[in-house]
């Protein structure tokens, strides 16, 4: 990085800061994501690839920059998602817990305000989440399915695109100290 790039300098300035949100945002954002995740595919099956709870988990993990908080957020959101799905409780919970934890850990090293970086991280953590979800299903539940790599990559790209827009929307609920 060069000090002649003002955007990145600004990113460096904000690196290490933990964003804070209104308490309602912590509740409503995941709840809305889960509800949309439940209802959108019902009316728009083409959007079934969306993984909004994961995107919200990644967002709060990246912005809070605290692995414990990210893991806890992923756990709660994942369990709530499991509760509304036919999956056994814990499948999404464990996957999102890990995704939240590692996203928060990575956020301490990157400028998570950068849209490109957010896109890349969303893309990566979607694949990470899907792979871990598949591994849990195969290892713990005995599901003999193959990991759909091309489909996962495409969905990761689409979710990353949605994540870029969603993260911008959620930035509006950030409270400035």
């Amino acid at each position: 990085m060069s000090r002649y790039e003002p955007g990145l300098d600004a990113g460096l300035a904000v690196r290490g800061k933990s964003a804070r949100y209104a308490p309602a945002a912590y509740l409503l954002a995941p709840l809305g994501a889960i509800l949309l995740q439940v209802y959108l595919p019902r009316f728009l099956p083409a959007l079934s690839y969306l993984e909004l709870p994961l995107l919200v988990t990644i967002y709060f993990a990246l912005m809070r920059r605290r692995p414990a908080s990210g893991a806890a957020a992923g756990c709660v959101i994942g369990l709530a998602q499991d509760a509304l799905s036919p999956q056994p409780l814990g499948m999404n919970g464990i996957s999102k817990t890990l995704a939240g934890y590692f996203a928060a850990s990575l956020s301490q090293r990157f400028d998570v305000e950068n849209s490109i970086l957010r896109f890349i991280l969303s893309f990566f953590f979607y694949i990470f989440h899907q792979f871990f979800f598949w591994s849990l299903g195969r290892g713990l539940l005995g599901r003999q399915t193959d990991f759909p790599v091309p489909q996962t990559v495409i969905y990761a790209f689409l979710n990353a695109v949605i994540a870029a827009a969603l993260f911008g929307f959620l930035d509006r609920f950030r409270r400035e100290d």
Partner: protein, 371 residues
């Protein structure tokens, strides 16, 4: 603990959450056999530990069990070794008994072939001193043993009785200094005497210096000493060397080649013939064995009596009369009908006395007793 959790707070939270959800997952999920996954995991987690504990327990039990088995095996091994030693000793004794029985049987056979009346005796001791050349035997005057009687074995002469007590006797070996036996050579019928010198070999004396004797020549008793009946093997010429007064002929007594344990005392001696030497084919000449006798034909081999001795013409004639009488159903020696001796008698039964093999030991050593 607090500092550890504080230092690894994030990781601790992560692990807590993951483990908690795993437990939750395991609690809900059941396997194909309808077993809760948490139970499967618990069993999977506990099984290696239980297996290790069980392996350790089995190893300990096996160790102590093996130890006790080993101790038991050692005691059993000691016991078996003792039993084996006792059995070996018993086997040795039985083998000695068997060998003794074989020797006694050989003596009995020999006694049956020799016309002399003999008494089987067992050696019970040797004379005191290494050069005594005497043996104690277990029969004495109460069994008819007297001084001057000959002691022999199937292999040859042993010596003579020099003392007879009621229950035992003392036999002087032919090798003893001063012991003498009259002998005749087998091939050229040369007469002389064997004299003991205290050595293993005896000296053949009173032979002409030009006598055609050679090593390997057999000497038989001549009966001239009035001790040994004629026709018993005495020994074989071992070597001939130049002595002070001519040739010195050393003879190895044939009966003393092996240690003596049994022998025969000749109570009533009967002289026999000295057997002729076996005809040896000339070197490089092939000689077939004699043909077998034709069926019904008289055997060319000399007929022999029940004791193996060759039959005389009178014996053969008596045998012919006996068979004639038997064929006519007449018992000889009783009053009544007289058999017709002009008729041909029935042929002798196969394997009868006339069918004795020509190469049997008796054929070489015996002749009919003289009247």
């Amino acid at each position: 603990m607090d500092s550890f959790l504080g230092r690894y707070r994030n990781l601790s939270v992560l692990l807590t959450l993951v483990v908690g959800q795993l437990v939750l997952l395991a609690y809900q999920v059941k396997t194909a056999q309808d077993v809760p996954l948490i139970r499967v995991w618990a069993v999977a987690a506990v099984t290696p530990l239980a297996r290790a504990v069980e392996a350790g327990r089995q190893a300990a039990v096996s160790f102590f069990s093996d130890y006790f088995v080993w101790r038991q095996a050692r005691e059993e091994n000691e016991r078996l070794k003792r039993e084996l030693g006792q059995l070996k000793l018993k086997n040795h004794l039985l083998a000695a008994e068997l060998a003794s029985a074989d020797r006694v049987q050989a003596l009995m056979q020999f006694r049956a072939q020799i016309p002399s009346k003999m008494l089987a005796v067992r050696v019970i001791g040797a004379g005191a001193g290494p050069d005594s050349h005497t043996l104690f035997v277990d029969r004495g005057a109460s069994d008819g043993v007297m001084r001057g009687m000959a002691a022999i074995t199937p292999e040859g002469i042993v010596g003579k009785v020099i003392a007879a007590w009621p229950m035992s006797s003392l036999v002087q070996l032919i090798t003893a200094p001063g012991a003498v036996a009259g002998v005749v050579s087998q091939t050229h019928r040369l007469r002389g005497a064997l004299r003991g010198t205290g050595a293993a070999l005896v000296v053949a004396e009173h032979f002409d210096n030009e006598a055609p004797l050679a090593p390997g020549e057999w000497f038989y008793t001549s009966g001239a000493d009035r001790v040994f009946p004629r026709g018993l093997p005495a020994g074989q010429v071992k070597m001939i060397r130049e002595g002070r007064s001519g040739k010195e002929i050393l003879v190895e007594p044939s009966a003393l080649k092996a240690p003596l344990e049994e022998m025969l005392i000749v109570l009533d001696g009967v002289h026999m013939l000295v057997p002729p030497p076996e005809a040896q084919p000339a070197e490089g000449v092939s000689l077939l064995p004699p043909p077998p006798p034709e069926p019904g034909a008289e055997s060319e081999a000399p007929a022999r009596g029940a004791n193996g001795a060759m039959l005389t013409d009178a014996d053969r004639l008596a045998e012919r009369y006996r068979r004639t009488a038997e064929a006519q159903g007449v018992q000889l020696g009783t009053k009544g009908r007289v058999p017709d001796f002009t008729r041909e008698p029935a042929p002798p039964a196969a394997g009868g006395r006339a069918a004795a093999p020509a190469d049997s030991p008796a054929a070489k050593k015996t002749e009919p007793p003289r009247p």
